[in-house]
């Protein structure tokens, strides 16, 4: 009997398998079964996809079959790396696996023809934010001497309440999946966006087909003929993804841009304040009995 989406049992089995697998993969005090847990969790994901495969109509998918196959691949890479982010025992490994999560989700955006977002993800997340994380991991590591074998910290190899967290998280996941595959949901209302030709005529009057072709010709005058033919296949009457996102951002959300700028400024000031806070470098040992002198100073400052 094929598993259909009217019957959410496949989703529940898959969620239970994923939860069990992730629990086995979690770093625990006694034994960690990483490989077995990974296999069980992957089987859960496979069961979920097999169960939802029956409802697919490849003729009316909305994106090409190739793109949809790539969606499976990128999703598998992203989910597997995400599981490794939260089960790795070294923070550096977590950060590196997170880079793979970012790259996989950028691939997912490419399958959805959201090219600008894909590259913004790679540049901002993979390039900027993750490098910041790497710097902090280096700054805040308990660097031993050259003979230090680099033991894992005890707080990295003991998860805190993994059972309860996984149970709660996968309960949420079961609810989300049941809703997102709910077959009785209302169909997609007709999209109310204007066709590209209207936009081009109203907002970008200089973007005629002839002007675009002339610009392309001017830019690739000395490029080899194969590229030339390839670029000429581009349809000048359609807006590219970058143009679409840019138009929407600057026409419909000017206030949002201003607010984003203010948020960045505030966080910049906050980061400077945090960086200027004086903390002496060799404070009290970890099981803290007496109040720290800096804390006392802060309290005095606060009460003044």
């Amino acid at each position: 009997m094929p598993i259909t989406l009217d019957n959410p049992l496949a989703i529940y089995f898959a969620v239970v398998a994923g939860a069990l697998g992730l629990w086995l993969m979690m770093p625990k005090a006694r034994q960690t079964y990483r490989v077995a847990g990974g296999v069980i969790a992957a089987a859960g994901l496979g069961l979920l996809w097999l169960g939802t495969y029956a409802a697919l109509d490849f003729a009316d998918l909305g994106l090409s079959t190739t793109a949809f196959v790539y969606q499976y691949i990128f999703s598998a890479i992203g989910i597997g790396s995400a599981a490794l982010v939260i089960t790795a025992t070294k923070p550096v490994h977590s950060a590196l696996w997170f880079v793979l999560v970012v790259l996989a989700s950028a691939g997912l955006f490419l399958t959805l023809s959201a090219e600008f977002m894909a590259f913004a993800m790679v540049i901002i997340y993979g390039g900027a934010i993750l490098v910041t994380y790497m710097f902090v991991i280096m700054l805040a590591a308990n660097a031993g001497g050259p003979n230090d074998p680099g033991e894992d910290e005890v707080f990295d190899i003991r998860a805190r309440t993994p059972g309860a967290a996984i149970a709660a998280g996968f309960l949420l996941l079961a609810v989300l999946l049941t809703l997102s595959f709910d077959a009785t949901r209302a169909p997609n209302p007709a999209a109310a966006a204007a066709p590209d030709a209207v936009i081009i005529e109203e907002i970008l009057p200089n973007r005629t087909a002839a002007a675009v072709r002339a610009r392309i010709d001017a830019e690739i005058a000395d490029v080899n003929p194969t590229t030339d033919a390839f670029i000429h296949q581009a349809d000048p009457d359609r807006l590219s993804n970058v143009e679409v996102v840019g138009l929407d951002l600057f026409m419909a959300h000017p206030l949002g841009i201003e607010l984003a700028g203010i948020i960045l400024l505030v966080s910049l000031i906050g980061a400077v304040v945090i960086a200027k806070t004086r903390v002496e470098d060799h404070p009290e040992p970890r099981p803290s009995g007496a109040p720290h002198p800096a804390d006392q100073a802060a309290t005095a400052e606060a009460s003044a």
């Binding site: 939802t52 950060a95 989700s105 023809s113 996984i166 929407d248 026409m251 960045l264």
Partner: protein, 116 residues
């Protein structure tokens, strides 16, 4: 540009509902894994890494919905999500470095009791 807004552009592809479900699944799984990681990990840096992973799940869902509804605002909103993520990373990592210099550990449990 005060007054009536000009028409908003449409997107090239429009997802079917079953295909949308697959992208939402990936987004939900990424979000839940980030949530579990935030609760279970005790390393401050990894905890904040897990919040970034929750952002990733939300972003995947946003873009999938944007393509499904043929409305580009979902993709535009991702830019603001990225802004918040960058601001959060800068502040959180600054705090982590400061906390580390106080107690010489990245263990979140070291800050479990807020005395004085």
């Amino acid at each position: 540009m005060i007054g009536a807004l000009p028409p908003m552009p449409a997107l090239a592809v429009a997802l079917s509902e079953a295909a949308l479900g697959h992208f939402l699944t990936t987004g939900a799984i990424l979000f839940v894994l980030g949530l579990i990681g935030f609760v279970t990990r005790r390393n401050l840096i990894v905890m904040f890494l897990c919040t970034e992973m929750m952002f990733q799940g939300v972003v995947v869902s946003l873009i999938a919905f944007s393509v499904y509804h043929g409305n580009v605002t979902g993709q535009t909103f991702v830019i603001f999500v990225l802004t918040i993520a960058a601001a959060e990373a800068a502040l959180a990592l600054g705090l982590v470095v400061m906390l580390f210099r106080r107690r010489r550990t990245l263990d979140a449990e070291a800050w479990a009791t807020l005395h004085d």
